[in-house]
């Protein structure tokens, strides 16, 4: 194994996960394909959602893949950055809303 955790070249090898467990990999890729297909939401809309989620989960492979995919599908730079802001706002909000929990606890124990 390389002495670093992430290698950009690994993204193209994603399909190789089937070498160790084919049945589950096949199910995953089939489901993955279906989840991204044009349906009630367009493939283009789904690509922008994926870009936002990629940032929320901070997956460098996903960011690489969906920055390209979203741009290819026609989203522009401002739209893509706004999607990242939405992801960041949810992440920030998710942390911050726990401030209420903190307040509750402090109020509970404070005189």
């Amino acid at each position: 194994m390389a002495n670093h955790y992430y290698d950009a070249a690994d993204l193209a090898k994603f399909g190789k996960i089937s070498e160790y467990q084919k049945e589950l990999a096949d199910k995953f890729f089939s489901w993955y394909g279906a989840a991204f297909a044009d349906s009630a939401l367009s493939a283009k809309e789904k690509s922008l959602i994926a870009l936002a989620v990629a940032h929320a989960v901070q997956c460098p492979y996903c960011i690489d893949a969906y920055s390209s995919d979203a741009y290819e599908k026609g989203w522009n730079e401002a739209q893509m950055m706004e999607a990242v802001h939405v992801a960041a706002a949810i992440k920030g909000g998710a942390a911050l809303v726990h401030g209420v929990q903190m307040m509750n606890k402090v109020k509970e124990i404070a005189m």
Partner: protein, 351 residues
């Protein structure tokens, strides 16, 4: 921006381009691409042979009013190579004698800038052939003498095929130059005014999408719907079909790929997306491409790489139908551009 030729770029040389396409960049020995020929061999498609010669594609010259960053012709205002009337007459003689050619596809440069363009269209129309003109749109507004082109096209029932890399100004202008989007929109409105792209008029107006960057086109059908919705909503423009065309890694697009550091990744992307269905439907199987100087090629891309037809008679003045129908089509690594994903041709996706 000038053509590669005017810049005296080493990429103006077709030998240099072929060396890069065939061997990759020098100094990267780990980088080996699967030869295109090998892919065809695995599909029993090698040697690649013609089906029937139906489309007669004439490049009437490299002269153009635009200098697009992705241009595979290296066209521009500084290019003076254009077809003479004598060569056009040789084309007309071949067309008159060979009924299998149903369509004549005129391209350039901006074909309308050739002083014999209108004469040529009139003569082809008189032969009863369907005519396609690959019009860059801005030429219609470039000079007063071109303002009546929509009427001229209509008179000869010309199918107009025009590049509009996107339905927004930013991507269009990045690829085609500042102000091109605005002028293209005006030109499309002028074409609509005479009936082009309007349902029931019988006047075909088709648009071409090509990626403004180092990536492949998205699915053609979805993109067409999006173009139609956006162009109608914002500019009241109608058109018939959208053709999604992949950029070929040659000439100015090759220069862009190299200078932006995208060349190897782009080639990997094309090869990774190789589609056997697209490979069997490539346009070179039913098309003959004629250069401004009368030489014959398998397609406009081979023409720009100076890869002439593999035949004893390589000039329009020596046209030999039997030889051309039994020839092997010349392939190289750039051919991956026509077989990636849904495939690509002058008429868009093929798979």
């Amino acid at each position: 921006m000038k053509s590669l030729q005017a810049q005296k770029s080493e990429l103006a040389s077709t030998e240099k381009q072929l060396a890069i396409i065939e061997n990759g960049l020098s100094g990267n020995k780990d980088y080996a691409l699967i030869p295109f020929q090998q892919q065809l061999e695995q599909l029993n498609l090698f040697p690649l042979v013609p089906t029937q010669l139906e489309i007669f594609q004439v490049n009437v010259g490299k002269m153009c009013n635009q200098v697009c960053k992705h241009c595979h012709v290296d066209a521009g205002p500084d290019r003076k190579e254009i077809m003479t009337r004598t060569t056009m007459q040789a084309c007309l003689d071949v067309l008159a004698a060979n009924p299998s050619f149903k369509t004549v596809d005129l391209t350039g440069g901006a074909p309308e800038m050739n002083p014999d363009f209108r004469w040529f269209v009139e003569q082809i129309h008189a032969l009863g052939k369907h005519i396609i003109v690959r019009c860059n749109l801005t030429i219609i507004l470039a000079n007063k003498k071109y303002h009546d082109l929509p009427e001229f096209f209509k008179k000869h029932q010309v199918e107009v095929v025009s590049s509009l890399p996107f339905y927004t100004a930013d991507r269009t202008d990045r690829q085609r130059g500042d102000g091109v989007f605005e002028d293209s929109i005006k030109a499309l409105q002028m074409l609509n005014e005479v009936g082009y792209g309007i349902e029931g008029s019988g006047l075909q107006l088709n648009l071409v999408y090509n990626p403004a960057g180092a990536f492949l086109p998205p699915a053609q059908n979805g993109l067409e719907l999006e173009y139609k919705e956006q162009l109608k909503k914002h500019f009241n423009i109608s058109f018939n079909n959208l053709y999604a065309i992949t950029n070929m890694p040659i000439s100015r697009y090759l220069d862009y790929l190299l200078t932006s550091g995208n060349y190897e990744k782009y080639m990997e992307k094309l090869i990774g997306a190789f589609n056997p269905v697209a490979a069997s439907n490539v346009m070179c199987r039913n098309t003959l491409s004629i250069g401004w100087d009368g030489y014959l090629f398998d397609c406009d891309f081979n023409q720009m790489l100076n890869l002439k037809v593999d035949s004893n008679h390589q000039h329009i003045s020596q046209f030999n139908l039997h030889e051309l129908q039994t020839r092997s089509i010349v392939v190289n690594q750039h051919c991956y551009g026509c077989t990636a994903g849904s495939g690509s041709s002058c008429g868009g996706s093929v798979a």
